[in-house]
């Protein structure tokens, strides 16, 4: 994939998500899985609350670009949107970062994801 350089971290209208980029805009599913598993519920909830109301519009915006050739700011937004499923497991299903009554680290490895940003 070629990612065109842009001056802004995120597209216009998504500035509110900038504080979450460093922690949640990951390149792969495996990294997102690890980030959720090792974050506090406060951090997970804050990101979930910030991204959820913007995710639908964000996906409409991202779909204006080729999925394998996004500008840098759109790619960054895309990575944030792809972190929502992981944090949603914590918020909507478990009410805690990890699956209850399971060990961590658990030895499950995600060796290969699916493009983009798998």
């Amino acid at each position: 994939m070629t990612i065109k350089a842009t001056t802004k971290l995120l597209p216009d209208g998504y500035e509110a998500l900038e504080p979450y980029v460093a922690k949640w805009a990951k390149d792969s599913s495996a990294e997102r899985m690890t980030e959720r598993a090792t974050s506090s519920m406060e951090d997970i909830q804050a990101f979930y609350d910030a991204i959820l109301p913007l995710a639908d519009e964000a996906m409409n915006l991202i779909d204006n670009y080729p999925i394998d050739d996004m500008p840098e700011d759109i790619a960054c937004l895309c990575k944030l949107v792809l972190a929502l499923p992981q944090v949603a497991m914590a918020v909507e299903l478990h009410g805690q970062p990890r699956l209850p009554n399971t060990p961590y680290p658990h030895g499950i490895e995600l060796l290969r994801g699916t493009p983009p940003f798998g």
Binding site: L52, I67, T102, I108, T114
Partner: protein, 421 residues
């Protein structure tokens, strides 16, 4: 699946177990913990059966190779596709002093150079270069190629057999499974999402956990429980199960009433507006439709179908669901540990919403595997106490009964033909 689905009456049929001619007796637990059984299983099952190792899509072009392990037999297998598109497996072992030849897991190469002393082989296994050959004593290059392993393919699946001269062909080994699963159009076969895990349980404990639905409402209530059971079928009884030689096909109930829970807001977003769907699907709808039209996918054409487990003896599940297929590999490591590899195949997403649904699916699969990982370790701990000699199996545990019975039969049979009879 919708509200118009006809009523389900699983009581109208006889038991799957008895209809298939299987015994209803308890099944021994010794094969799940005994060191001597483990050795026999290694020698008489894994060293004699055809073993499914890969899909052909992992070897997409001439020169492609993959390296796969057969952990119970301590064999590293180099599988190549040569310029004539022949797929052939070799021991990943140099002819010079027996060193492991390549440490990479996959790639594209015409030749393989042993890092130890640079002996060089073609991807057809021929020895083509020995540094300072003049200092050896009549070494015959023609006799020093890589040692081939019997290799064959079926429906895009690559099999090997560790017997120097396999007692039976792959076709004979597959038996009725060969035609039952013929002509599958596997969607997304080039794009698997791959999970691995080392588990504290005998490999059969793990395989067993993935072939029965009786446990799902108990172990997976949050993640997939409501997909597999409902008031109509609260204990997730099976729709169908059949033996196919040592292999088998098990078809599982799905909750036709399953709808997205509005409190699961992220999942609703992925389905753009709350269109109902299974949580175990993540595929391109047209390709999935072609796939599920096959008579061996949802074999009873039930409106209450979730997925099928097709067990390829001894250790592979090829699972089919509304969204496509996925595979589980269960490799023995010791009497009470195993190595698991799950490969979940999907077409690369064309839209971000499609990609988002895949990420939901991947997140959920990871948690389901984690639930099972904890569960199988607990099962093994109980088995290892030696307090129980048998397990009591019900009709929905048909798959466990057939696979363990077959393993015992292979261990007790002096020839493969006898095991298959």
């Amino acid at each position: 699946m919708n509200a118009k689905s006809p009523p389900l009456d699983l009581n109208k049929r006889g038991t799957l177990t008895e209809d298939a001619g299987l015994s209803t007796a308890p099944i021994p637990l010794e094969p799940y913990r005994s060191a001597s059984f483990y050795e026999q299983e290694r020698d008489r099952v894994f060293k004699r059966a055809w073993l499914l190792m890969a899909r052909v899509e992992e070897l997409p072009e001439a020169g492609s190779y993959v390296v796969k392990d057969v952990p119970p037999c301590k064999v590293s297998v180099l599988i190549t596709r040569n310029k004539n598109d022949k797929i052939q497996a070799f021991y990943n072992t140099c002819s010079h002093r027996g060193s492991k030849l390549t440490s990479e897991n996959q790639g594209k190469k015409g030749r393989f150079v042993c890092p130890y002393h640079q002996w060089t082989y073609s991807n057809e296994g021929d020895l083509i270069g020995i540094p300072d050959q003049a200092n050896f004593f009549d070494v015959d290059k023609k006799k020093c190629g890589l040692t081939p392993i019997a290799t064959d393919t079926w429906e895009g699946w690559v099999f090997i057999n560790l017997q120097p001269e396999p007692e039976v062909t792959l076709e004979r080994f597959l038996g009725p499974m060969k035609d039952y699963m013929a002509n599958f159009k596997y969607p997304g076969a080039s794009n698997p999402v791959v999970f691995t895990a080392k588990l504290d349980a005998n490999w059969k404990v793990v395989s067993d956990a993935f072939i029965e639905t009786y446990h799902i409402p108990c172990i997976h209530p949050q993640t997939i429980g409501t997909t597999f059971s409902s008031k109509l079928n609260p204990h997730a009884r099976l729709l169908d199960a059949r033996t196919l030689g040592p292999h088998q096909a098990v078809s599982m109930f799905g909750n036709a009433d399953y709808t997205l829970d509005p409190k699961n807001k992220a999942e609703m977003l992925g389905h753009s507006g709350g269109e109902a769907g299974s949580v175990i699907a993540a595929a391109n709808k047209e390709k999935a439709a072609e796939f599920i039209a096959h008579p061996a996918v949802n074999p009873t054409s039930s409106n209450y179908w979730s997925m099928d487990v097709n067990l390829i003896f001894p250790h592979i599940h090829i699972d089919c669901g509304p969204g496509g297929f996925w595979t589980h590999y269960f490799w023995p490591l010791s009497p009470n540990t195993s190595f698991y590899e799950g490969r979940f195949y999907m077409e690369p997403a064309e839209t971000i919403r499609g990609r988002f649904l895949q990420e939901m699916y991947i997140s959920r699969v990871a948690d389901v595997i984690l639930e099972d990982l904890v569960n199988v370790a607990r099962t093994q701990e109980g088995i290892d106490t030696g307090g129980k000699q048998f397990m009591q199996l019900q009709d929905s545990e048909f798959g466990i009964r057939h696979s363990t019975t077959q393993i015992i039969k292979w261990v007790e049979s002096d020839t493969v033909e006898e095991a298959l009879s």
